[in-house]
Subunit: 267 residues, 2 copies
């Protein structure tokens, strides 16, 4: 019987997936907290180069700085920086090795071994606990048996799993940059504009919340309003002159142009 | 006793503000619904040029197409398009006349009369009922007595009132364009990127919701993550090449540049 078949049988009979997490950063911590609370997963080890960062996990599980002698597990989850994925993966000898990066193909993992992707589509910060139950987990594997292992692992912490190929995941990650990173910067611009006139950022929060609430009921395409949408050149010109910051001006122009193009195509 | 002093006394003694709403669009409807449910306000009339649109109000209050013979009221609320504000206001003879536009100065209303601004910082759509209790109402008047009339009117429907001068309001409206109109377009871009790869928009919603949840606990400045924030030129280059739509490319560039500038200045 192959090692791979034995691992799958182990999962099947014990009912508990043995997991090793490689990495000690934000994503590693959030995954650890979630899996550690799950009754279907046993986090047997956390591996990382930073001894100090390992202290976070020490009380709850075995930790090591040595990637070459990791414990036996069903899944090795690489929660390391994109550029370290290939290097760390090469040191692993056995088991299903998965990374959790948005922009990295499954092919970055060594050929020949069992490999997959376990990408959480969410933004993580040290300060805020994430409710994984609501986090879409985007899974990829090279065969159905491995996919089922990942699906079980995913279902142990989240109600939302999606099968996403590497090539789709690239666009998904790009979409995430637009809706998360970029809109967060627009909120920063809003705050800067308010504060330079002595107005508190709080005044904008209900509007931001309503912007989100709307798109649960209609598409962003339908929800669009504002000077660009109604082709109000007069207000656009006034607002452009009003903006002192050149970088904000460039944002105003590029998004206004894109909105006009979006709706012009519909005529 | 002046007409103005009489009006204020009327409000004081009757306890009910008499309101005439001019306009029949989205904002007029939402204001009408809110004030009509309030026990402190009596909407005595709705005026509009569009007979068909007046039908919405007919059952509940008096309506008219003739702006020159409006009923006596304490406040005349102009919920008309920015370009119609001056024209409509000139036809009113008495009372406190207020417009509710973000980008229009109080000076657009006729000099000599009592004037003010009653600007709701919110996005309104026909389909969704708005809970005014959470809508910041930005008020402006030329004297304390008039300001108090507007404040009472505002408190009858909302818990959030702000004193905002015309010059501040211009920046506030600009900030609203960034956080509402522009981020909504980024959500549309996210949806377009997903759908061209056969992924449902729903996969992005938890991320969008978390983006908003974060800024209740930290500033957008602190919450910023992503390739631009960590100056990851490699991912930026890859993503730029990945975007086929030229307008989306321009957005990617302008926001990435602005994020880098924002954090470079902090070094």
């Amino acid at each position: 019987m192959s090692t791979s078949a034995r691992s799958i049988l182990y999962v099947y009979f014990s009912g508990m997936t043995r997991l090793v997490i490689c990495g000690t950063g934000n994503v590693a911590r959030h995954f650890f907290d979630a899996f550690h609370s799950s009754e279907e997963v046993n986090v047997v080890q956390v591996a990382g180069r930073n001894r100090q960062a390992l202290a976070y996990f020490d009380k709850h599980t075995d930790t090591t700085e040595d990637f070459s002698g990791l414990r036996k597990a069903d899944v090795y989850l690489l929660a390391v920086s994109d550029s370290a994925i290939a290097t760390v993966a090469r040191q692993l000898k056995d088991g299903l090795v998965v990374h959790c990066a948005g922009s990295t193909s499954i092919d970055r993992l060594p050929e020949g071994g069992r490999r997959g992707v376990f990408y959480p589509l969410q933004t993580f910060s040290k300060e805020l606990k994430v409710n994984f139950n609501n986090v879409p987990l985007c899974l990829e594997a090279e065969n159905e048996a491995d996919y089922r292992v990942l699906e079980d692992l995913a279902h142990s912490i989240s109600g939302k799993t999606f099968r996403v190929r590497s090539e789709q995941r690239l666009d998904l990650h790009l979409a995430a940059v637009f809706v998360n990173n970029f809109s967060n910067h627009l909120f920063h611009v809003g705050q800067a504009l308010c504060e330079q006139k002595g107005l508190p950022f709080e005044i904008l929060l209900p509007l931001i919340e309503e912007t989100i609430r709307k798109i649960r009921y209609m598409s962003p395409f339908e929800a669009q309003t504002g000077p660009a949408r109604r082709n109000d050149i007069y207000t656009q010109q006034l607002q452009l002159e009003q903006i002192e910051n050149k970088a904000y001006q460039a944002i105003y122009k590029s998004i206004t142009h894109s909105i006009q193009k979006t709706y012009a195509e519909e005529l």
